[in-house]
Symmetry: C2
Subunit: 196 residues, 2 copies
């Protein structure tokens, strides 16, 4: 069963990757909004119904991998040594998911540009971001020595939200510079302005 499951998983993963690829081509050709799910299904050679079974929403065609990245982020922050400051731990987490991404920089830029350029994709990304932030709260609280309650502490939440804010700032500027800027430096400059 083990081997069968993974084999099946691999073939499914290949199908998913191929669908994503055709979708991205179509989005690049005609734009995200102007491309219908029917078109994607037709060109990918699956029925519309199956397409919606693979990707629950149109946005998932672009943002589908973010769940995995979120878990990775939380784990990376968790595994930072206790003497590392909260800020450094969070930055390390983001460094991890950036380097762990198995895409070329061009692909990341393409997808980021797509996301930043479309309202519903931005919304989708934002929702995922919120989940990541929520998952980080206990980790950061522990690191800051704050006891966990049902309603979190504003300090922990504020720090997390701020780091995400600076990451978003850096990402947006990186996209607007067409990838021709160092995202880490942008992040550092944003955070430096905040922390004085």
């Amino acid at each position: 069963m083990e081997k069968a499951a993974t084999l099946w998983d691999r073939s499914r993963q290949a199908v998913v990757a191929e669908i994503v690829e055709t979708a991205l081509v179509l989005f690049a050709e005609q734009g995200y909004e102007a491309t219908t799910m029917a078109q994607v299904a037709a060109r990918a050679g699956v029925s519309q119904r199956s397409l919606f079974r693979y990707f629950g929403t149109k946005e998932d065609l672009v943002c589908g991998e973010q769940d995995a990245l979120g878990e990775l982020l939380v784990r990376a922050v968790e595994e930072q040594a206790p003497e590392v400051s909260t800020w450094d731990a969070l930055r390390a987490g983001f460094t991890t998911i950036l380097t762990a991404s198995n895409h070329t920089q061009e692909r990341v830029l393409e997808i980021s540009t797509l996301i930043f350029g479309n309202a519903s994709l931005r919304a989708r990304y934002f929702e995922k971001r919120l989940k990541w932030q929520k998952a980080l709260v206990p980790v950061v609280e522990k690191r800051m020595g704050i006891e966990h309650r049902e309603i979190p502490d504003p300090a922990a939440m504020g720090v997390i939200a701020t780091v995400f804010a600076c990451v978003d700032t850096a990402s947006e500027l990186w996209v607007r510079h067409g990838g021709k800027a160092d995202p880490f430096e942008l992040y550092e400059r944003a955070l430096a302005a905040v922390r004085g």
Copy 2:
């Protein structure tokens, strides 16, 4: 023409307010998602087509006034004395729009709870927030003594994004406390944790 226009505006505004009221009642009864625009139109006594003319989207039934608040925010920050720090100027802006809102605290809480509890409303709010942030960039750059370029400076953007992050943190916690907490104190605690 002056008087006629305002008279007409007033009647239209009354219609809008009444529609919003019936919509909020329906949302409270059955939830946001489960309420269809057809239901709102029927109970408000207008055609579905006209409902969509008053409110371009379902989300606008809840988030409709945010455009005006955004302009108010930008103006308030702009009008702060130059010797006021950027952080204080931004906080003053948010204080302004909070006190300028012509709703009772209960109504603000009701709407905020609705928004924080639904993904598409959150998305809508987030989009508006992005517009506010964008509009604030030149104002804050000027205040920080940064020359304005086509692609903004990460320092200004980071500061703005951080203030919004802390405002969001405070808002969310305020909602989760059922309004039984001081939102300003929550904001101060979040920002204090960030700025050390």
